[in-house]
Every structure is written in C-alpha cells, then in structure tokens.
Symmetry: C2
Subunit: 198 residues, 2 copies
C-alpha cells in the first residue's frame, strides 16, 4: 500500500533538519523522515492541543497572545499536551500557565481535527475555581468577558470561534454529543468574526 | 518552571537512539531529547489512536491481532492517526486496513487518556456499510459477534473492555456525554474480563 503524500503545511519548529530523508521503512506503508546519518525514524503524528472554555459565572476567560503565531490576538487557554498527562490535566495546566487560572473540568465540549497543520484540538467546558486570573508568560493580558463582549474579530484562530459558538450552543445542556468540525457558515470563520445568529 | 519527569514506560519503536540526550531547550520549560550530533530537538508528545465500535445489526466487529503486542488477542479496529487525516478518517482507515471494512461514523463514543504509554484513544460508534469483512495484514481473523458472545478474557487491551462496556451503555442513546477513563470496577480490567453487571 502506498500512502497519500502529507499535505503542504507551514514548516514547524519540530520539523527535522535537511539531512532527514523521506523513505518507507521496512514493514511500514508510508513515507517517513529518516536520519541519513543514524537511521533514526522520525515518526510525525498529529499533535494534541488541549484547552477549555473556562467560566466564572457568565463570563468567559480569554487570554491575549504574547507569542507568535497571532501575537496580540485573543484565544482560549489551550496548548500542546505533554507526555505523562491526561487530556484533562493538559487543559488544566494550560489554564494555569497561560492565565494563572485554577479550573475544574465540567465535560468534553468539542474535538476538532485541523488536518492541514496536524492537530487535534480537544476543548473542555470548565469552571474557574476563583476569579483570580492573571497573564502568564505566554499572555499579554487576560480577561473575563461576557458573551456579548467577545472581541470576535480579534480572536486568534478559527477553532476559538468554533469553540465559543459551540459553548454557547451547549449552555444549559448536560447531555449532548461532543461537537466536532463545523460545516456551513461556521466552517468559514476566517478572518474571524461573530457567527451569524449569535 | 521545571517539569515533572516523564513516567517510566516501555521502550517504543519511535524512541530515539542513545546519542539523543535530555536537555531543556532555550525558551522551553521541560526536558526534551536533543540529538548530540545535530541539535535536532525531538519533541515527544502523546500519540492519537483512533478506532471504532463497528456494528452490523446487533453484531460487533472484532479483529484478532496478528502482531505484537497482544498477538492472538481480540481488539476493536484502531490504530495510530497519521498526518493529513481527521480523527474520523483515521478510524475509517483503520477499519479498512485491519478488517477490510467500510464504515460510516455515527458519533464520538469515548476518549481515553493512557498517560503511561503516551496515548489518547478516540473511539467512535460506527455502522458497517456491509457485512463483507476480512482479515487485513495486521489481523489473523475478524468476526462479527453478538454482545453475549464477546470473548472478554481474550480481549487485547483494557481500553477495548472499556469501549465495549461504554458502547453497551450508550445503546439507544443519541445525546450522551462522550465517555472517558472509567473509575471503579471498570478501571480495573486487567487481566481482561467481563465487567460486572453486563
């Protein structure tokens, strides 16, 4: 079986140097990057981003990014899951690191595949344990904003728009299917803006 | 910030060779494996396993593993997600590769974190498009079994027990919270056996 070629995507910090070459290893069925010097096979798999829509009463925690990409734009606390964690622990750690926030996970809100950049984003619904939040090293500022005050056009990524729209839709519901990649208008949220009907 | 040490886990095929050394890269806050020869930083993050509980009428698709680990034991079609896929596409590809099965995704059934081995397992509920299934290269056999005939003690992994128990619990439900790591008796399914009450 031959494999589809990995789609074009931006070069990322963890992409290996140029002396890694594309080759199908024995017993495998798709091209991998192999170090031409030591034969180390560098398997590249999708990475998990874990985060949460965190609330204090009716207000939602947003963080203004202090780092690229999308420095200066607003996002939900979220980041790459590390080894040794559960997805819930990763979301809690990111809230702590980016917004000095302690959160309690409520339930899984959404899971989005962003195939172009090799990410799966796992977003929880969570409660802030206190309103005591502050910018961590990767944030310029943090804010607790009412839904009506969300700066839609200043959001950092399409998935942030999706998660906020899905969070709004899930309000007051306990049992609901975990949201996934939207279709229709909500799928076309770039540049970011307020989705119709919200 | 210093990071917790990654927990002990079995050596895996994608672990780098011995000339990679543990070091905290500039701008990072935890130890990574860095190639002592070329400074390539080998980020290790959790990997995603995607799979499905696939049904034909009331029967469930199981595959007998032809490869280690747990060769000869029964599993649900599932495997490592690749770059360029969505989680749904990964689950569909694994059903095709392991059981020559064409499936339609119904909805997200469960997401399990297996922190010890750096995995997040994403399991869908799916329908077989036909009962025409067959062993793929990684399977010794495939079977469509009624719930009463599941070979519980011959299942390959605890997460297979969990997914089958959660699938059973979800039957007839459209809206339900995605299942996650169980607590109580179901969390202690090693060696594998039929969970109490099923």
């Amino acid at each position: 079986m031959t494999s589809p070629v990995v789609p074009e995507r931006p070069r990322l910090p963890w992409d290996p140097p140029d002396h890694f070459e594309k080759r199908v290893p024995d017993g495998d069925n798709r091209e991998r990057l192999v170090c031409a010097r030591c034969e180390f096979i560098h398997y590249q798999n999708p990475k998990i981003v874990a985060g949460a829509v965190c609330t204090w009463d009716d207000r939602i925690l947003l963080a203004k990014r202090a780092i690229e990409p999308r420095k200066g734009f607003w996002t939900l606390p979220a980041g790459y899951m590390e080894l040794g964690e559960t997805t819930e622990q990763a979301a809690q750690r990111e809230a702590r690191e980016e917004a000095c926030a302690t959160i309690e996970i409520d339930r899984l809100l959404a899971m989005y595949s962003v195939a172009r950049i090799g990410q799966v984003q796992i977003m929880y619904r969570a409660r802030l344990v206190s309103a005591d939040v502050a910018a961590g090293p990767e944030s310029e500022a943090v804010a607790l904003v009412g839904f009506a005050d969300i700066p839609w056009e200043q959001l950092a990524f399409p998935t942030v728009v999706w998660a906020l729209a899905h969070f709004h839709d899930s309000r007051g519901k306990a049992d609901f299917a975990t949201y996934s990649n939207p279709t229709g208008d909500l799928a076309k949220m770039w540049p970011p803006r307020k989705p119709a009907g919200l």
